[in-house]
Symmetry: C2
Subunit: 325 residues, 2 copies
């Protein structure tokens, strides 16, 4: 029996295809490539495939019991974890590509953190009014105290950059209280988050969307932050209490925030987030796939795991579907 | 005869005053402190002072021949160099405080560079229209090719940060073709700028305003940049041909620019810069004095040079009034 891989992605270059084909050939697989516009054609060949590399819930759902491994090219995989019966084969392996997004999302985090510390929401207003005023106090990454909530690849890639820019103290907070990177001055489990928040001036949130993280930064916890704190979220919108965040920003209980993720997306035209004070909104672009190296790493991660899969070894980027990441 | 220092600054904390007083006492000086609002009172005591630490052209001009050293708390000192007869004492020493601004201006440079690479002028427009679109190609500091025009303290502090974020190749361009920092992959004298521009993707300009730098980035030189290049200027507005820059941006011959300095400042309400495409304007705030460490370094630099002055040694931050920096 032929062993087949179905790839349904929009971002592959010719070099990426050649790299996947070469790895597949070595491992005894044949590959069929499709773009998301050709999803119907991809669906037609799925019953003959045991591996799928894509980012489509519909495609995953239409796979037959032959599918043994689904590699999602995105970082967040909550739709595949929320629905236990999404795969016809209940033992189907799931991997994600979170590791590919560390650099681009870290650069986004750095950009919006600097924009908030340097008062760009207000200066942007000054410029929009064609006015001229330079008297707003600014702050700096140098000497700053940062808490990274979600100390995985994305959070830690940011922490490394903040460290290089002279951050004075970086606290990592993760489910386990452990982190892969050695960049943190202190590590806490999420259960002790309330101790960390009152001394947090820059809160960077890079958590997956899971049952455990929903509303994690609740109204009560937002109130624990000092009034000069800023909050930056690139994980999932429902990880924080959006109404409480808007109240805190509009009431001056927080100095600023930047959201790349929110509820709902896209944001309706009449949503109060658009008018919230000192808030930088971006339309879920932090992990934009247009950076060449994001795509390169994505493909490399798939190929690495394909070799492991073919050798019967555990996959490196496997998701625990109960935990959700 | 008493040796006196006149200090006329707005940003000093009590600790800064104590530090200046202690250094002065050790060196046999007495200090009189004034704020810029008290400039008339400061002027009244100037005839008894041999040192002035301030940032006022008027105050410098009103000093008598007793003034032997003027320490300007700002980085740019062109008004004191342009006018040869500004000081009653033609041998009056001039120092500047450029070294105090490296970190804050480097963070500004990093912020606007990321904003341009990550298409924030366009995404800001998307958000302002309450729209939702994430399909603009982005670029990254990681792997980027940067030219720093003006490889002094400010340019080099930025270059160090860009290096830490993974910039692939950093070229320094300075008058002499030398630089204090070892962060550059290549160094060129300004006379060879035309060779460097065609392979520059991020051009960071941190030059002083002097006779030699005026219109240095001319229309012809702007045309040498590739069309995907971005230009960032924090030095002086007249260092580039502003009309040519606007034409290049509006015509798509340049990908973007960020100006913290421009001609004239403040910018009149009807100036075409306000409406220029892919341009980030800020109202001369990159070297904002509100950061505590900018003030700390400023005072420390003055105190260091005060000790040298008292010991009859050359001053560390002395400006060559002919060169203008």
């Amino acid at each position: 029996m032929n062993r087949n891989i179905c790839v349904c992605l929009e971002f592959l270059t010719e070099e990426h295809r050649a790299q996947i084909e070469e790895t597949a050939r070595k491992c005894g697989f044949a590959v069929r490539f499709f773009t998301p516009e050709q999803e119907a054609e991809a669906r037609a060949v799925l019953p003959e495939c045991e591996v799928l590399y894509a980012h489509s819930v519909e495609l995953a759902r239409s796979a037959t019991a032959t599918l043994n491994w689904y590699c999602c090219s995105w970082a967040g995989v909550e739709p595949y974890c929320r629905d236990e019966r999404i795969f016809a084969n209940s033992d189907c392996l799931l991997t994600n590509s979170a590791g590919a997004y560390g650099v681009t999302i870290a650069e986004h985090l750095l950009m919006v953190t600097l924009m908030l510390l340097r008062r760009m929401p207000e200066f942007g207003q000054v410029i929009q009014n064609r006015a001229w005023s330079g008297q707003l106090p600014m702050r700096s990454i140098l000497g700053s105290e940062i808490t990274v909530l979600g100390a995985g690849n994305i959070g830690s890639t940011f922490a490394e950059r903040a460290r290089a820019l002279g951050a004075a103290h970086i606290v990592g907070v993760s489910r386990s209280g452990r982190a892969r990177a050695a960049v943190y001055d202190e590590l806490f489990p999420i259960s002790r988050l309330d101790e960390v928040l009152p001394r947090t001036h820059i809160l960077v949130m890079a958590l997956p969307g899971t049952r455990d993280t929903q509303n994690l930064l609740s109204r009560e916890r937002i109130a624990l932050l000092p009034s000069d704190a800023i909050v930056v979220n690139v994980g999932r919108g429902n990880v924080l209490d959006q109404d409480a965040l808007m109240d805190a920003l509009n009431g001056g209980a927080l100095a600023g925030a930047a959201l790349d993720v929110m509820v709902p997306e896209p944001l309706p035209e009449d949503h109060p987030l658009w008018d919230t004070k000192n808030l930088i909104l971006t339309p879920h672009i932090a992990g934009n796939m247009s950076l060449g190296y994001t795509c390169d790493i994505n493909v490399r991660m798939f190929c690495e795991d394909l070799e492991r899969y073919a050798a019967g070894q555990p996959l490196k980027h496997q998701v625990d579907r109960k935990l959700g990441y």
